[in-house]
Symmetry: C2
Subunit: 325 residues, 2 copies
DNA sequence: GCTAGACCTGTAACCGCTTACACGTCGCGG
DNA sequence: CCGCGACGTGTAAGCGGTTACAGGTCTAGC
């Protein structure tokens, strides 16, 4: 019973006769033998590990993404390394270095801020990379995300259809492409409806409740009239609603609010939030599928099959026709 | 310039003369050399990796825990393997097997459902294990968690102090120890205040919004009188509030609600939620600190230094004195 | 009965690193 | 001037697997 035979047996690689197999089995049981994956990885040059880089797991949209990723990863018996970058380029680089050392098989990333040249230094080592939800500065990576622009447009159209004309927008961080795309969708809808654009109705937030809260307070403070707000994400929307209520405005009677993401809690806010649904689980699965495919294909450069999801509008109770208040 | 010298240089282990160091440095840069952590791990028998097993990353309380863990882990240059068990014992076992193969240095777990004997089979391989937030069936693992019983008691006392006597409780899954402890705290507070216990006021939820929603609906349907509800966690509380509103009850004017956890969004619900704060970040850090210490100590059996945090009451707007409605 | 080939199994090299140890060089004190 | 220790560096043996290849046994075909 040589190590070679045992190896063949446990990996079902190469022929092993019945009786020998039995003997190995009993020995394995008796000794509590567990193959050492590290040693195996050293020779196979594959760790069955993928890394997921994201800004901050605390943003309630991301855990759903993670869950989707994990579901598929586990089906394929991959394991997930979670890396919170806090959008700090130094941390990102540190992580990439670490991941390379750990020989991860592939990388999933939402919104790296690192410049292309830096990213390339790592992908050139042959590790496939796919971007999820937010863009990264590395065009040849496949992307999977919703159509941010279209979603924002649909959200805004919903408000327009309800008769609103004075529609404010609390944006995300301006440096993020998503923010700009959602803003663009908002503006596209407005101009399609021939609503004159009013810079005072655009406040910049940061995708946080607090950002939404302060954004609406600013709006309120400037005494600019508005009957609806499209927030760039649900967190902002929730903050916006809190601010509106704190200042005596009723939602949706006085002002309608729509968000973006459809985080799990959106259905349970008061009022339940009208929002654009992002199919986070499926997106996570999809990105992982593409990544694992790229790993199997071998060459670090995955064929760039982007995948863009539609973000349907979910109408709940935070929006109502203009003037119903 | 032998491999040995290079190894000594990059690990700062053993003496390397200045000029040699310089030569190595330039060579490293020129070749883009990155040490292979797998090979290193094979000989050092340490991977600088810890695993975090939790039921479901989608529960908004857990990401904060994860963040705390990750913060400290990164400071100590450990890396985090995330494992969602969905509270499925088969998945848990599969994961443990996998983690053993991957030679993780330590394991953090919140609420394994696996029986002790199974857990032991893995820890006996010398991998330290610490339990976080929820108990596991493995007494010798250090635990870090809040005082669930005390927190629940404080929450209930708050309602009592506001004059409430008919206080309902939406519990968590009965099979979880946390649920039972929070329930015990609730009952302790009631009996200390000489409030007669009423079984009809206790409904069992499952720590989800939906559980809270249905729990309150059941309460409402049975036409049992209550003026306050203590929900076993914030998610339940949010569901409870949604149900109350859906049935025309105002919060807090008609019924007060208090939760448990103080998830980030608790401050932004309508009304903002009165709740027991769990210092998730610190708890995560603390557990990780203990785990890494145990890893450093070498023997798989960490000295069992449990750490229990206090969960202070955060009073917001979901509770008000009885009869103010 | 002999041999080709199928079928198992063992031998040994190797994955890329760490590390005990051997070795050579040097400076110093006696 | 010699010997010794300190200091740098190289050699080589693993770490625990995988896998190419060699070899041994057995069956079947001639």
């Amino acid at each position: 019973m040589s190590t070679a035979t045992v190896s063949r047996f446990v990996n079902r690689a190469g022929p092993v006769a019945g009786p020998t197999g039995k003997r190995i089995e009993t020995a394995v049981l008796a000794l509590g033998y567990r193959p050492n994956g590290i040693a195996r990885s050293l020779v196979t040059k594959t760790t069955h590990t993928i890394a997921f880089l994201l800004p901050d797991i605390t943003n309630p949209f991301f855990p759903s993404l993670v869950k989707g990723v994990q579901l598929l990863a586990n089906e394929r018996s991959y394991v997930l390394l979670l890396c919170s970058t806090l959008s700090d380029p130094r941390k990102e680089e540190e992580y990439l270095r670490l991941l390379q050392a750990k020989q991860v098989d592939g990388i999933l990333a939402v919104g790296l801020v690192l410049p292309r040249s830096q990213i390339e230094r790592f992908t050139s080592a042959g590790v496939p990379l796919v971007s999820l939800d937010r863009d990264i500065d590395y065009p040849s990576a496949p992307r999977v995300h919703v159509n941010h622009r279209k979603g924002a447009q649909v959200a805004t159209q919903h408000l327009l259809a309800l008769g609103h004309r004075a529609i404010a927008h609390v944006s995300g961080p301006p440096q993020l492409r998503v923010s700009r795309e959602r803003l663009a969708g908002y503006e596209a809808a407005l101009s399609a409806a021939r609503v004159r654009r009013d810079e005072r109705l655009r406040v910049t937030g940061d995708f946080s409740e607090d950002g939404g809260y302060r954004g609406v307070e600013r709006l309120l403070g400037e005494a600019v009239h508005f009957t609806a707000v499209f927030a760039a994400n649900d967190l902002s929307a929730i903050g916006a609603i809190a601010a509106l209520k704190a200042h005596g405005r009723r939602v949706p009677e006085d002002v309608s609010v729509v968000g973006f993401d459809d985080i799990h809690l959106a259905a349970y806010t008061s009022p339940p939030l009208t929002t654009i649904h992002q199919p986070a689980l499926e997106m996570g699965r999809c990105a992982t599928e593409i990544l694992i495919q790229a790993i199997a294909d071998g060459q670090g450069r995955p064929r760039s099959n982007d995948r863009v999801f539609e973000g349907p509008l979910i109408v709940r109770d935070s929006t109502s026709p203009l003037g119903r208040g």
